[in-house]
Symmetry: C2
Subunit: 164 residues, 2 copies
């Protein structure tokens, strides 16, 4: 079971791929798609779609995981986030890959055992669960966290490593 | 000059194609992409992308026209509209077709000569400008109106038919 987690944004989109073996999540890859601020929204959306398409082509995930959005600062930022989220999910939709959505609370609960964990705690727990020694960006960590949460929900229960 | 106007929505997306000849807009086609309410958001987004891709393949527009969104009822509906708007524009973005955005005020001004025209007035003026005798849906009329506005802005001035 291989999961691609996506953390979409109109300027930075994080992604992370994990797979499970022996009920343990393993790290495969992660990164960010950073859109130059000078580029038009159109160009940035095209870039998100192409990059996520390439990532799916390369890693062939079985499932996509993405955070549910319940609120946004204001309608304008919600609209922008919607554009990015729609085109980020589209490559998976077009390839009939199942997409699972999880609330921020579920994701934090899954990786840190605490629904109100902050970004730093999520990052640290993602590094611990996946045995990643190098530093992570928050966007990459959030995408990996969504993927870990998805693996945990699909396979049930908690992982051997991490929270016990 | 052929323009595809798009009026995106998470349940109904209108489209309309117009072209100009002798400084006059001519009707080519219009329709709506209606998403079954029972379908998931994912399926609906996939459908919008595929249908707009097919329309572009069939009519090969030179330009895309779409309404600028300044506000939405609330962040949730803005997020949903953003998803639909992003995937509706994407086929054009991927084909490097220029996308022009116009405010509702500019579009109404272009077709009805009055920025606060209501939906019925916009529909009636679109029918008059394009010599369409059959009835139009509001979504189809709005998409055609965006396309007419775009033609008018690109070619400058008002059209021979309609407002003088």
């Amino acid at each position: 079971m291989k999961v691609l987690g996506i953390d979409p944004g109109s300027h930075i989109t994080g992604y992370g791929i994990v797979f499970s073996e022996d009920q343990t999540p393993h790290y495969l890859a992660h990164g960010i798609i950073k859109m130059p601020k000078k580029k038009s929204l159109f160009k940035r959306l095209g870039l998100i779609f192409k990059e996520i398409s390439d990532i799916i082509e390369t890693y062939r995930p079985d499932v996509l995981a993405i955070e549910k959005v319940f609120f946004a600062k204001n309608p304008h930022s919600a609209l922008l986030l919607g554009h990015a989220r729609g085109v980020a999910m589209l490559p998976g939709i077009l390839k009939n890959i199942d997409i699972h959505e999880y609330s921020a609370l579920e994701i934090k609960q899954a990786v840190a055992g605490y629904g109100r964990a902050d970004k730093e705690q999520v990052k640290t727990m993602v590094q611990r669960l996946l045995v990643i020694k190098s530093d992570l960006t928050y966007d990459g960590a959030d995408a990996l966290a969504a993927a870990i949460c998805c693996l945990q929900h699909i396979q049930g229960g908690l992982f051997k490593r991490g929270i016990q």
